[in-house]
């Protein structure tokens, strides 16, 4: 079957164009998936988990200072690079110290040591108070018996008072 030469070339070119278009489309898609600018909400979701040492007691998402604005920009850049929240937080800890975290790292010791220390202190104090209070309680219990015992001086004094009446 005869096929015109012009048509064969056109088909070949068409195939090349389709392949090129596919390649471009795939490449463009890959790039756009990596680099969309993160929204303010996405940035603030990470920022509110951090505190800048310059502005104490103000979470990063609400802090109006220039230092905090720079930090938020850095978070935006890192999110655009595809870094995860944990990776970003880790970066901030490495660069600015663990105190930038709104919550301490999830270490058992962070919560256990203060609790154990408080309980231990309480137990020691409790035992101390218990020992300290025991003699006084015993004394209190024995005092009525002592007062009920007849004291000759008091008895004589009371007698003298009765006589005067």
């Amino acid at each position: 079957m005869y096929k015109p030469k012009l048509l064969q070339i056109t088909n070949y070119q068409l195939l090349v164009v389709i392949l090129l278009a596919l390649a471009i489309a795939l490449t463009t898609r890959a790039v756009s998936a990596q680099g969309p600018t993160p929204t303010d909400d996405e940035v603030n979701r990470v920022a509110k988990q951090l505190y800048c040492p310059v502005c104490e007691s103000t979470p990063l998402d609400a802090c109006p200072t220039e230092a905090c604005r720079q930090w938020r920009d850095l978070i935006r850049t890192m999110l655009a690079e595809g870094r995860s929240e944990e990776e970003i937080k880790q970066y901030f800890v490495e660069h600015y110290g663990v105190r930038v975290l709104a919550e301490p790292p999830n270490r058992l010791a962070t919560y256990l040591i203060p609790a154990i220390a408080i309980l231990l202190g309480a137990v020691l104090l409790f035992r101390g108070f218990h020992i300290w209070m025991k003699p006084s309680a015993t004394r209190a219990a024995t005092e009525p018996e002592q007062t009920s015992a007849p004291d000759p001086y008091i008895a004589r004094l009371e007698e003298e008072l009765k006589k005067q009446k």
């Binding site: 040492p53 720079q70 660069h95 600015y96 110290g97 408080i118 309480a122 104090l125 409790f126 309680a137």
Partner: protein, 190 residues
């Protein structure tokens, strides 16, 4: 005569609970007191020997090809430690004077300037360094270890350390002129 134990009447809050509350409150007060004491202490005081610290350097600011500088290696030289940040407007007032002073003292080899970049982002820091043409060694204060050691009260602050590693002068706030910087360095060189 026999001792009779009378059981104590039960009250609202048990003793152990009261003790825990008091221990907690006292602990809290101790923490607050320590924090206040630390704040009132201010910066490290002149006369104190400065302990060794390591400053990682920004690329382009390496010293003898090394990417970090150890303070202990600078014994025998006057060290000027300037704490700054790119977001700090008062720092800009003194940046040019510090660079000019560095240009004056660097050839002697007896004075070293160190820029400690506090709570900053590297891109902004680089813009700042370029803007003021700063060439002396500069790097970030990683995890704020250096500034915590010096107990800085803000930025800028500059510390002048003599050849024996003893802190001689602390400047809180920006220098008003290059003469103010010279006035601290020159006596240490005599």
């Amino acid at each position: 005569m026999t001792e009779t134990s009378i059981p104590a009447p039960r009250r609202g809050v048990p003793l152990w609970a009261q003790i825990i509350v008091w221990v907690f409150l006292v602990g809290l007060l101790v923490i607050v007191a320590l924090g206040l004491q630390r704040r009132q202490q201010g910066t490290v005081q002149p006369g104190q020997v400065i302990e060794n610290f390591t400053l990682p350097l920004y690329s382009g600011y390496e010293v003898d090809g090394k990417s970090e500088i150890h303070f202990a290696d600078l014994r025998g030289k006057v060290v000027v430690i300037n704490v700054w940040a790119s977001w700090c407007k008062p720092c800009e007032q003194e940046a040019a004077d510090l660079q000019q002073a560095w240009a004056e003292y660097e050839p002697s080899g007896q004075v070293v300037f160190l820029g400690v970049d506090y709570v900053d982002t590297e891109p902004e820091a680089r813009v700042y360094l370029k803007k003021f043409g700063i060439t002396y060694p500069n790097g970030p204060d990683l995890a704020t270890r250096i500034t915590q050691y010096f107990r800085i009260t803000g930025v800028p602050e500059t510390y002048f350390v003599d050849q024996d590693g003893v802190l001689r002068y602390v400047k809180i706030g920006p220098f008003s002129s290059i003469d103010e910087i010279r006035a601290q360095i020159d006596p240490l060189l005599e």
